[in-house]
Amino acid sequence: MKPKFVVVFLKEIRETLRDKRSLGLLVMFTLMYPVMLGYILNRQIERATRPEREGISLAVIGAAQAPTLMAQLKQKNITVHEMPDLGEDAITELLHSPKTAALLRLPKNFSESYAAMRPARIELWYDSATEQDNRRHDIEDVLQAYGSNIASARLLAHGVSPAILQPIQVQHYDTGTNAARSAGLIGSILGFLFFPAFICGLSAAVDSTAGERERRSLEVLMAQPARTWELVVGKWLAAGSLAIVGITLELVLAHAILSWLPLEEIGMSWRVNWRDLALVCLASVPLSLLAAGLQIAVAMNARSFKEAQSVLSFVMLVPMVPGIAVSMLDLKTADWMYIVPMLSNQTLLRETAKGGDLGPLPYVLTFGCSLLGALIAVGFASWRMKSERYVLAV
């Protein structure tokens, strides 16, 4: 004869698996995040590794008036396309395509003003809505250099040292490294990887408690020769196992994607092998159980599915708080972080990703503290279901 909590567990699993629509949503949610993450990181890597000034394409109207400028642009690997004079609409149209970074227009009187040493106007046309900012800066730098060269030459011709025009000289030193810049990024990425623990079991937890209460089947169930803890544990394990499947899938997929991407190019590291990953997944099992336990303990008190969902959507923000607080306060990794569920999982994965030897303590703490919390939640739920107040409200 099956233990009664197993009977309840199997029935809840069967019922949940038959709800194809919410199951499909869960699968989509679980798979979407790592895929989206992979896509975004991949684009970042592509942008970081793209050769500088690779084929900056510049359209120029009236190029013949400034042959030196054209030569300098070509030196900086900027391809100049000479154009006949265009109207404003045609220019806008041209700049709309990502191929052309910007357009220079030298007015007809350019040579004349230049020769007369009046400021010779050059028009720089660009479209700030396209992502060509870096390329435009490169072009502007060339223009700037071209201008100062001419200025220097003219001053020299008058016997004045061009250095007079440079009372100060600014030199730039950037101490930021790619690694430091991406540290914050990878922290927030890893934080969200554990979210399925709270999402995947949610509908099963709510449906088997508040839902059953709303459909008025809980009273019948409570009148069966099964103890309340057997009912609660069956429902808890059903919701928990969905969450475990969800988070394991998510971590495995994320691992596959992150190890496939050349993250070193943007200064991130993912030094996790399959053995580490298995350990992290195992240490995260109680997190799913804790989430399911909390959801059951909260949802069973709601009168309807809807009420439970709105309360829980608020409750689910709570586990995110420590992680956000730690990253905002910029705290260094400390042992106490492994005691706080969710934060402990995030910290564990982040430290593993760095590739150091953590020793068993973080794993044990991560596993144990969540499990303890889960058991407390389930104990509370069983106690609550037994109480007369609850029976009356069912």
Binding site: K4, R14, V220, E388, V391
Partner: protein, 244 residues
Amino acid sequence: MIEAKEVRKQFGPVQALAGVSFSARDGAITALLGPNGAGKTTLLRTLVGMLKRDHGTIAIDGVDPEQDPMTVRANIGFLTDQFGLYERLSTREYLTYFGELNGMGKALLRDRIDQVAAMLGMDDILERRSKGFSQGQRIKVALARALLHRPRHLLLDEPTRGLDVMSTRAVRNALVALRAEGCCVVLATHVMQEVSHLCDDVIVIAKGHTVAQGSPLQLCERTGIANLEDAFVSLVGTDEGIVA
């Protein structure tokens, strides 16, 4: 055999049961009559040990539901005013779930489900999921669930409500068959015709008190009113208060 003596139950300021005493014999159908709010649901919940009484004694085949609720529940088929169906399970899966919760093995369950389905005439819905079942089909499934584990006692809250004539007859015939098997059936109902045709004993409760127990005939004799419905009304009392 169900025996209750002076059972009282209070919820805050509300005295839900103010002294209910009765006995329901084996091999008999006992009607539980009482206006809405008389405390029938509280009484039934107390009998299966979901609620604890404040005062009095309850014995179901000699077992106190408060001391040993599991033994008592295994021996009771309970049909409340809620059917408690699961829309995503077929009738057979539903019955299997509750059978297993009552500790029944696979082979036994298969036989029993077929028996109960034949008894209630519900072979056609056995493999269907309960979504979209009619009221009658729902009640049949719930009743089948209550009968499945061959309980010695049945606590049924209005089992024939919403049923068509054929189904009502099927349920009544089933109850008569169960009585013949020696079951102790307690039937809360508002249908007087059912009480006079079916029940051997009647318990009338009003405002948490047992106001009378006896056969339908005895109740009529006691009140001096020939019609059972009128006798019931006279027993529960008029606006001025409770008679008896």
